[in-house]
């Protein structure tokens, strides 16, 4: 009998460690990533020709980045790496892919989804002004292209990426003029004890704050409201502090986002059961500690099935590979399983503390004005959403989508879907989980109309 086909989507820390573990056990996994070079979000590599020293790109994580980047070169042909390949659909044992304008498909016996996360967005006045980026977007510009999003940059957010990206910008020589945290400082103090138990990648953001590496940047916590000013281009960031006083700083770019959300569309299309995770305030595919989903043929690792950060992603990648090996009847090192399980349990504790440090900024959602664009693909306002909730009985997001087109554009709600659910919940006065989640449809990202298929 031939070897089972194990497909992995995502060549970030989770997917790479899973691929490595399987390859070392003698299987040849097929590893897909739409990026040309492996690494995922945190360990994203510059394009060929734009390489810079690891320490300059990854800071304290340069060693980890190097180790993760070494996996594919070390294992060579033992991993079937399909770079630059978008997986746009999964259904009943088969992936549909697109690479360089060519469609193909890949049958699998087992599928590991390690699709990572993206920034969580909340609209605020001026959020669609050219020059406003997400924090992750700002970081990608820096890591992949070695460019800054502006000369004078202000950052605002809720989550460990905020101080981290601000620090990375300052170190790269950009002028960071403000670092505004929309969550209260008190929450961080309360959570500090839990976090000290387990230092981890995402915690280094806090470490940077402590190190005061940001020079003259204005810093504030508990920020109540933010507003980007400027016609056609960012000119300033204005905010209301925790006491109600108004501030303003001139800048030409803003990085703003509010935590992360899992890229779980493929898990949805695969038919995995989802559950609402109160800690990170989002729906995620149900994942057992050993990486199993609700489906026998689908496994989950990394931030794509609940936010845990890069170190957790690596651990989960290894762990899920062992589960798959066991399922396909290969020998598994039980001591290694135990070691990974206890490391993951420690991380989970830390993770809870970290989320506590950055509670979801509900006040920003409540403040979204009726004329604010919520879905920028389709140009639909928050007021249009509130109207159909109030007057047309739309009680959950799919109905809101049907009535208003929110989430029907290019991004299929990846950007606005989360805020839309929060707005529906506020309008109805119900828990956000009762506002539902947008059902996914293929393709997970746009695909071109091409001929040649009969």
């Amino acid at each position: 009998m031939s070897d089972p086909v194990i497909a992995i989507v995502g060549a970030g820390p989770a997917g790479l460690r899973a691929a490595e573990t399987l390859a070392l056990a003698g299987l040849r996994p097929v590893l897909f990533d739409e990026a040309e070079r492996p690494g995922g979000q945190i360990y994203r590599q510059p394009p060929p020709g734009a390489e810079r020293p690891g320490a300059a790109i990854y800071g304290l994580e340069a060693g980890k980045a190097q180790a993760v980047h070494a996996i594919l070169p070390t294992l060579g042909e033992r991993i079937d790496h399909r770079a630059g390949t978008l997986v746009w659909n999964v259904f009943e044992g088969r992936l549909d892919t697109l690479r360089a304008g060519a469609f193909a498909h890949q049958p699998f016996d087992r599928l590991i989804l390690a699709t990572g996360a993206m920034d969580r967005v909340i609209p605020f006045p001026g959020w669609t002004t050219p020059g406003v980026f997400t924090l992750g977007g700002a970081q990608i510009a820096l890591k992949a292209q070695g460019v800054s999003i502006g000369r004078r940059v202000a950052f605002v957010g809720a989550g460990p990426l905020l101080p981290l990206v601000a620090h990375q910008y300052a170190k790269a020589g950009a002028e960071v003029v403000a670092v505004l945290d929309v969550t209260p400082f008190g929450a961080k103090l309360r959570s500090a004890a839990g976090m000290l138990a387990q230092p981890s990648t995402l915690a280094k953001g806090l470490y940077y704050v402590a190190r005061n590496a940001l020079g003259r940047a204005r810093r504030a916590s508990g920020v109540r409201a933010i507003r980007v000013e400027g016609e056609g281009r960012v000119a300033a960031l204005a905010w209301t502090d925790h006491k109600g006083a108004e501030h303003r700083v001139a800048c030409d770019a803003v990085g703003a986002s509010f935590g992360l959300r899992s890229e779980s569309q493929l898990a949805d299309l695969a038919g995995c059961t989802f559950a609402f995770d109160a800690l990170t305030r989002q729906w995620a595919p149900v994942r057992a500690p050993d990486g199993r989903s609700s489906r026998e043929d689908v496994f989950l690792a990394g931030d794509g099935a609940g936010i845990g950060g890069a170190d957790v992603a690596e651990l989960q990648g290894r762990r899920v590979a062992l589960t798959v090996l066991q399922d396909v009847g290969r020998p598994v090192d039980v001591a290694e399983v135990a070691r990974l399980d206890s490391a993951l349990a420690r991380q989970a504790q830390f993770r809870a503390a970290l989320e506590g440090a950055y509670p979801y900024p509900e006040h920003l959602v409540a403040a979204v004005a009726d004329d604010e664009i919520l879905c920028r693909c389709e140009g639909v306002t928050a007021g249009a959403l509130r109207d159909v909730v109030r007057h047309k009985g739309a009680a959950e997001v799919n109905r809101v989508k049907a009535f208003t087109r929110i989430g029907m554009g290019r991004c299929q709600g990846r950007v606005c879907g989360h805020a839309a659910a929060e707005l529906v919940a506020l309008e109805r006065g119900c828990p956000v989980e009762d506002a539902g989640r947008l059902r996914g449809q293929p393709p997970v990202k746009p695909i071109p109309v091409l001929g040649g298929f009969s």
Partner: protein, 385 residues
């Protein structure tokens, strides 16, 4: 907690047919309740292609379609909801001499029903639609056909029904219905509805409901596979179909081009459906043959939904053959969106007067009783929706 409800008419299925029925019955002064297993108008009625098309229908359907088309003109006013009804015209393309002959025959026959179709020669088609590929040799145009936004129509009928005093019960799956001495008893979870009349507008589930009353109506799940592009500059000025029905497209006011491509997957029992990748890619190829300008346009979503399809591709409409005061309207076989508005009026007529002026004899459920439908009817297969 279980609840009981008593109404004149209980309606199983809150698609466009069921909700329009509730509206018409309330206007006729009867009390009505709609039970839907999900949300009203979220089934086939809410996810279809949006074609408001008479051209190409089975001729038996034309009287219904003609009458429904008149309602479409004032639908937005009736529903107090913009339904994005756009009288773009529907053009059906011929790619062979046989296609042309088919179109000519159809146009002649349709005239008997008052449907005026214009035959266009190759040059006329080319001047009207210069971006069509070179495979088209003629066409038939139905100027008064068009398109609308399906996502809003069904729910708007449900809201109007509610405003008129109908009971709308969503997330209530009907699991049993039986004839009692005085009428019907319908069970939907913890809700029991007693009614004098029962209306079966359960879509793909309609055959099962009929079965509860000893009637046979074979209904299969039909899942047209749909694709939509990102908004493009406006160029598809008409709703377009072809002889054989394997290509159809339209462009929304927002600019998205919607086109069909084969069949998706679906499981009616759990009300789940999925578009299929190979079908979508095949649909792309066939559409590009006709519309090369779509090359490399970005498809942002594909989807499907579940309609009920009968062996002869026309619906079941009319009184039950076994059970007094039971009325059926299901199995619209992929083209019941256009007919939806008139179904309410017809069902209300059947309930309040026992008959309707619109000829519906061909849709009688009895046609399946003798053990099957003559396959000659099936020859008229048009897979466009």
């Amino acid at each position: 907690m279980s609840a009981r409800l008593a109404v004149d008419v209980c309606i199983i299925g809150g698609g466009i047919a069921g909700c329009a029925s509730a509206v018409a019955l309330r206007k006729a002064g009867l009390t009505a309740a709609v039970l839907d297993r999900g949300l009203c108008g979220a089934g086939a009625s809410g996810v279809n292609f949006g074609g408001v098309r008479q051209q190409g229908r089975n001729l038996h359907e034309l009287p219904l379609a003609r009458r429904s088309r008149r309602i479409w003109d004032s639908l937005a006013a009736i529903l107090e909801q913009d339904v994005e009804f756009d009288v773009s015209g529907h053009i059906k393309l011929a790619r062979s001499e046989a296609d042309l002959a088919e179109l000519e025959t159809y146009a002649r026959n349709a005239r008997d029903y008052g449907l005026d179709l214009q035959m266009l020669g190759a040059n006329r088609v080319r001047s009207e639609i210069p971006w069509l590929g070179d495979k088209v040799i003629g066409a038939s145009l139905s100027p008064e056909d068009g398109q609308a936004n399906p996502r809003v129509v069904g729910p708007a009928f449900a809201r109007l029904a509610r405003r008129l005093g109908a009971e709308i019960h969503e997330h209530r799956r009907v699991t049993a219905a039986r004839r009692t001495e005085t009428g019907f008893e319908v069970e939907a979870g913890d809700l029991t509805v007693a009614s004098a009349w029962l209306v079966n507008t359960a879509g793909v589930f309609g055959g099962t409901v009929a079965g509860w009353f000893g009637e046979h109506a074979p209904v299969e799940a039909l899942m047209p596979n749909m694709l939509v592009t990102e908004p493009l500059p406006y160029f598809v000025s008409r709703s377009i179909g072809v002889c054989g029905g394997d290509v159809y497209l339209r462009q929304t006011g927002r600019g998205n081009v919607i086109f069909g491509g084969g069949r998706g997957w679906g499981d009616a029992e759990i009300a789940r459906s999925r578009p299929l990748a190979d079908e979508s890619l095949g649909g792309m190829s066939r559409t590009l043959d006709l519309v090369p300008a779509l090359t490399n346009a970005q498809v942002i979503r594909t989807w499907t939904g579940i309609d009920g399809q009968t062996p002869d591709r026309i619906p079941v409409i009319g009184h039950s053959s076994t059970t007094p005061q039971l009325v059926h309207a299901f199995g619209f076989s992929g083209h019941g969106f256009q007919l939806g508005p008139v179904m309410g009026e017809i069902i209300a007529e059947l309930v309040t007067q026992g008959r309707t002026p619109t000829p519906i004899a061909p849709f009688s459920i009895e046609r399946f009783a003798a053990g099957g439908v003559a396959s000659s009817v099936e020859a008229h297969t048009h897979t466009e929706h």
